[in-house]
């Protein structure tokens, strides 16, 4: 019998991480993500893993990256203010190519904002929160089941591409309870191991796939890891060509694999006159509105983003080229998602439904917008 449970989004995150093989969690309490830390504190010791509550979020992500350098799958979880504090070390993980999973259960900001209510306004921060050109992968589940599945995918992508992966979902998704099937993952990916002897090892000499094989510390490959711009040996460099090459490679390894990383669900878009585009909890409203519209014979489709970064521009361009549809974009921000979509869909074809007051976007609100667009 399938392992079916009625649990919360944050609890599903714990289950997904354990299924993916997490054995280290470092965190700091913050609403609305705390249940993840609590779940990990209870569960990790039972599987021989380590849980530690650190002194702040900066230390939490630092410890998680440290554990990953020691070869253990590691994660942390937080929300807006803590996520802001983690940014510098997210950049460190991106630069040094250390896999780590960071969960941002999004609440209203800026500053302390609205801690107990949902928002999606960290959307751009997940992509550009840390300084410098850098790679990152961001996944955006909208249901408890998707939180479970996408948490597993987050670990797999982190290990496969040696990159920090951020799981972004809003408070609504984190705290709601739904039935979820805790299926055993079809695939568990472990990071590459070096194929050369220690004396021939060049840690950042990536193969054609641009992904380095970083040996866990303590396994006989003694090398140097630094957040400074570095060459293939891992040591600092000031050589302009090497610096440019490093940045192009660490960003390029993600860009070159967009097809593998990008995931979305498209419902009834082929003949659509209006496409609702959403991620996170607005998808729930959107699915309802889209089905109702179809039932009334209206040509409405739904595009659900599951990988927010890299952003699925190719798919949107294709849909727009084929349908010339208008895009209705419900989002719990003041327009961050619509801005990104405007790189692929003309501005005058984008209709925003913006709400960042802590409440969910209602079906009535979205229906009204869709109706106007179709008129």
């Amino acid at each position: 019998m399938a392992n079916k449970k009625l649990i919360q989004g944050n609890e599903a995150c714990v289950e997904g991480a354990l299924a993916a093989g997490v054995r280290f969690f470092a965190g700091y309490p913050i609403t609305p993500s705390t249940e993840i830390a609590e779940g990990m504190a209870e569960r990790l010791p039972l599987v021989g893993g380590a849980f530690i509550q650190m002194e702040d979020e900066i230390a939490s992500i630092a410890a998680a990256i440290g554990a990953s350098i020691a070869g253990v799958k590691a994660m942390t979880a937080t929300s807006g203010p803590g996520f802001s504090l983690m940014q510098e070390n997210i950049g460190f993980a991106a630069m040094t190519e250390i896999p780590v999973v960071v969960v941002d259960v999004c609440r209203g900001g800026p500053s302390t904002g609205t801690p107990t209510k949902g928002s999606q306004s960290d959307f751009m921060q997940t992509r550009w929160g840390t300084h410098g050109d850098h790679p990152v992968i961001v996944l955006t589940p909208s249901s408890v089941q998707e939180v479970y599945d996408e948490t597993i995918r987050a670990f797999n992508l982190a290990e496969k591409y040696m990159v920090p992966v951020i799981l972004l979902y809003d408070e609504v998704v984190g705290h709601m309870r739904e039935g979820v099937v805790l299926t055993k993952p079809e695939e568990i990916i472990e990071r590459k191991k070096p194929s050369v002897k220690p004396e021939d090892y060049r840690p950042y000499a990536a193969a054609e796939d641009m992904i380095p094989a970083l040996a866990p510390f303590g396994t006989g490959y003694r090398y140097h890891i630094t957040g400074l711009s570095h060459d293939e040996t891992g040591f600092p460099t000031g050589n302009p060509k090497t610096i440019q090459g490093l940045l192009e490679r660490i960003c390029g390894k993600i860009e070159a694999n967009r097809h593998d990383i990008i995931k979305y669900n498209a419902f009834d878009v082929d003949d659509a006159e209006a496409v609702i585009l959403a991620f996170g909890s607005p998808v729930r409203t959107a699915r309802h509105v889209q089905k109702e519209a179809r039932a009334r014979g209206k040509k409405v489709g739904l595009f659900q983003i599951l990988t927010a970064w890299p952003f699925p521009h190719e798919a949107l361009q294709e849909i727009y080229a084929k349908t010339q549809a208008s895009f209705v974009i419900p989002e719990m921000t003041l327009g961050q998602l619509a801005d990104e979509v405007s790189k692929s869909v003309p501005r005058d074809k984008i209709y925003s439904v913006l709400r960042n007051d802590g409440e969910m976007i209602t079906p009535a609100q979205l229906e009204e917008a869709v109706r106007r667009v179709l008129e």
Binding site: G48, A62, A63, G66, N89, G218, H224, G227
Partner: protein, 265 residues
């Protein structure tokens, strides 16, 4: 093992200025390590940002040069993920006592088995001479042109107060004693803090008219007390050496008993 075998000779010359005391501290650390017959594959050296932090790159261990102030937090993750590794943190007065002060006190409180060596030259050298939390009152820095209005921490007292189970201070003017206290810190199971008083002739010394590196070493010699007893001088030596349950041992022993079905208290 010869300490020279623990150096990445191809990374020389180092970046430190002529007369800098950091090489003396690094040599003291290496001599202490060489006497221990450690497996270099199982040694991790973590550093933050600053002149001191560059030391990690010169050492033929598993070396990690992290973000400013966060070395102890990274080291905590490494040690807890794999307690069989020997984890050493090389840090400076700015890195450890200012931006990283929070991690220092919490590492001490946890008593996690890390050895933290603080290269204290009383200044931010990498950024060319701003005052740190260990710059003495009234001394000059580029950001204290009229003399430092701040008062410094006593790092030994801070580490003691935070619960470190091994606390010592050495100085570049007494390299043998420095080597000895570092060695004791490395042997200690628990959180060890060793402050190493060092000289920065380029930025601190010059601005405060302390003369050459040799003059500064004389100053350190005259103003520190290797026996720790002389009135009015900076005491050197071991100030705390106590046994308290170590964090990782305690954690894994506790969860093993959980696995056997024993309930926590």
């Amino acid at each position: 093992m010869n300490y020279k075998d623990m150096l990445r000779a191809d990374k020389m010359p180092h970046i430190w200025c002529p007369g800098c005391g950091h090489g003396i501290i690094l040599a003291a650390f290496l001599r202490a390590m060489a006497a221990k017959e450690v497996d270099p594959d199982k040694v991790v050296v973590v550093s933050g940002i600053g002149c001191s932090a560059r030391a990690s790159g010169y050492l033929d261990f598993n070396t990690l040069h992290t973000t400013h102030g966060r070395a102890i937090a990274f080291a905590t993750g490494i040690k807890l993920a794999n307690p069989e590794l020997m984890v050493v943190v090389l840090t400076g007065d700015g890195d450890c006592a200012a931006i990283g002060g929070n991690h220092l006190i919490h590492g001490a409180r946890r008593n996690i088995d890390l050895t933290v060596i603080v290269f204290n030259n009383s200044i931010y050298g990498m950024t060319s001479g701003q005052y740190s939390p260990l710059t003495p009152h009234r001394k000059k820095a580029t950001t204290a042109p009229y003399g430092n209005f701040d008062h410094p921490f006593d790092l030994v007292e801070l580490a003691k107060g935070a619960g470190a189970t091994f606390v010592a201070r050495g100085a570049t003017a007494y390299p043998r004693q420095l080597e000895k206290v570092i060695s004791q810190g490395l042997d200690h199971k628990g959180f060890s803090v060793i402050e190493a008083v060092s000289q920065c002739p380029t930025y601190y010394g010059r601005r405060n008219k302390m003369g050459s590196a040799v003059d500064m070493l004389h100053w350190i010699k005259e103003n520190t007390s290797p026996g720790g007893k002389e009135e009015g001088k900076i005491p050197l030596g071991v100030f705390v050496q106590v046994q308290r349950p170590e964090y990782c041992s305690n954690y894994y022993e506790s969860i093993e008993s959980l696995a056997r079905g024993e309930k926590g208290e």
